[in-house]
């Protein structure tokens, strides 16, 4: 039977140009790609989405707001009745940009924030950036734009997550995505950012402890696809059922190349929109075979013998491939870590389910967090709660 799914979610890299050179950038963004889509090509591409039942387009980069015509493309997608979101490093969130975001009807702005001030500025190699980003977030929130924050979690910022949670809630953010470090691009050349097994599990423990409590407060903490699966550190719902690249998600690069997911390496390009329509690339026989023609015998050694192999399909495709050169072989699956390092897993469990504590305590705790209610973020070095 032919494939009958649709690319409900499109990730669209508007440009690879970026005004930052972050140490952890998996896209190694900076300069634009050669021959990026023109405005006319991008607008024409938008018109290909409705017949494919696209429900949501997420603009990323690089820094998508650096593309001068970003708002024309976003407005076109919105006119077609499709939800639009945009991910930014926060630097371009000037009042005029916030106003334009609201004007074109972008549903959510995702802003990258990778820790507290010193850590964020160090990872993103720009002193003073953290304060400018938070000012941008505040402008967006005050301007009525829904803001989500994305944190690329690494060994440098892992233990700042509790303080970051308090900060985000205090400034009106309601969505927070935790994205484990993907050792690709510049991140692949920054071993100090790499998460160990223990640290991966600590991230899981933080999520497992804080997500339900935050949700009760109206704050969503969401794990990226590469965080999980099938242990006590995961929430039972929704269950992980494998990578969705090429099943109902697709990634479009700024030069018109198409992948199942933008995090995948270039050898996984499925087509070129300058040569074929998205419809033809999506429904081409043999396309996206790694997910559409998955079978357990294609799994790597990390996953092949797992009792949940059929359901899990080997975790995050990009994490598998980047870390092991194999598909369906996620080395950071909690269940896999539990098997090879039961002691680390037990430590994480004790963090996630402490008998008497009501919040997760990471193994190297920070000093008492500032009280975000009392101290505005701009002066967060001020009062310390309870001291």
């Amino acid at each position: 039977m032919s494939f009958e799914g649709f690319p409900c979610v499109v990730g669209w890299e508007l440009t690879l140009a970026c005004n930052l050179r972050c140490r952890h950038c998996a896209s190694a963004a900076g300069l634009p790609r050669k021959n990026e889509l023109t405005t006319e090509e991008a607008l024409a591409l938008c018109d290909q989405f409705p017949p494919l039942a696209v429900q949501e387009v997420d603009f990323t980069g690089g820094e998508p707001l650096m593309r001068p015509d970003w708002w024309r493309i976003a407005a076109r997608v919105k006119e077609l009745g499709i939800t639009t979101r945009i991910v930014t490093n926060g630097l371009p969130l000037a009042p005029s940009t916030v106003a334009r975001i609201r004007e074109v009807g972008i549903s959510t702005v995702g802003v990258s924030l990778d820790g507290l001030e010193a850590t964020h500025d160090d990872i993103r190699v720009l002193p003073g950036l953290w304060r400018r980003v938070l000012a941008g977030i505040q402008r967006a929130v005050d301007g009525g734009v829904q803001v989500g924050v994305i944190t690329a979690v690494n060994a440098r910022n892992l233990r700042e997550l509790p303080a970051l949670l308090g900060l985000l809630e205090s400034i009106g953010v309601r969505h927070w995505q935790l994205q484990p470090n993907l050792p690709r691009g510049r991140s692949g050349e920054a071993p100090d950012l790499a998460l160990s097994d223990q640290e991966f599990l600590e991230l899981g423990a933080f999520f497992r402890t804080e997500q339900p409590k935050a949700k009760a407060r109206g704050f969503d903490i969401v794990p990226a696809d590469s965080l999980g699966y099938f242990t006590e550190l995961d929430l039972p719902e929704p269950p992980w059922r494998g990578c969705h690249a090429g099943l109902f998600a697709v990634g479009i690069l700024s030069d018109g190349k198409v992948k199942g997911c933008l995090t995948m390496p270039d050898e996984m390009i499925e087509g070129d929109l300058r040569q074929d329509d998205l419809w033809d690339i999506w429904f081409r026989d043999g396309a996206f075979a790694y997910t559409r023609q998955f079978s357990v015998d294609k799994m790597g050694a990390n996953c092949r013998d797992c009792a949940l192999a059929e359901q899990c399909r080997g975790g995050c495709t990009s994490m598998s491939y980047v870390c092991t050169d194999k598909l369906h072989n996620d080395p950071y699956c909690f269940l896999g870590i539990q098997k090879r390092n039961p002691q680390a897993f037990q430590t994480a469990i004790s963090m996630a389910f402490p008998e008497e504590r009501d919040s997760v305590m990471l193994s190297d705790p920070l000093p008492p967090s500032p009280c975000w209610t009392c101290a505005p973020w701009a002066g967060f070095a001020g009062r310390v709660h309870g001291s």
Partner: protein
């Protein structure tokens, strides 16, 4: 502009097996409540060529008993069944794809 018996907003039903996946966590993708927005029925918005072509063949079958082209025989008959039974016309994903491929394969 009327599209005859097809109406303006045909929908197709997506397979259950696709829908129950965790869909709202992507690298560098905003996450919120998209999962709640996707149901078993997705709305597609094909272009006018789709409406005109499909409507033409459904009407020809219903009104004149004219057999549709083989490539879209099943979708046309299913749509005709819906119409004759007084139901809103909906298309299974496979039928929708078949019609789209048929329309796209025709020279403009």
């Amino acid at each position: 502009m009327s599209n005859g018996i097809l109406g303006r907003r045909p929908v197709f039903i997506q397979r259950e097996s696709i829908l129950d996946r965790r869909i709202w966590v992507y690298y560098l993708v905003i996450v919120d409540k998209l999962a709640n927005q996707l149901g078993p029925v997705l709305e597609a918005r094909p272009d006018e060529r789709f409406y005109q072509t499909f409507s033409k063949h459904v009407e020809a079958y219903v009104k004149e008993g004219k057999a549709p082209p083989k490539a879209i025989e099943t979708p046309v008959l299913n749509a005709a069944d819906d119409y004759l039974a007084g139901r809103d016309i909906s298309l299974r994903a496979g039928d929708y794809i078949a019609v789209q491929n048929f329309v796209r394969g025709q020279k403009t």
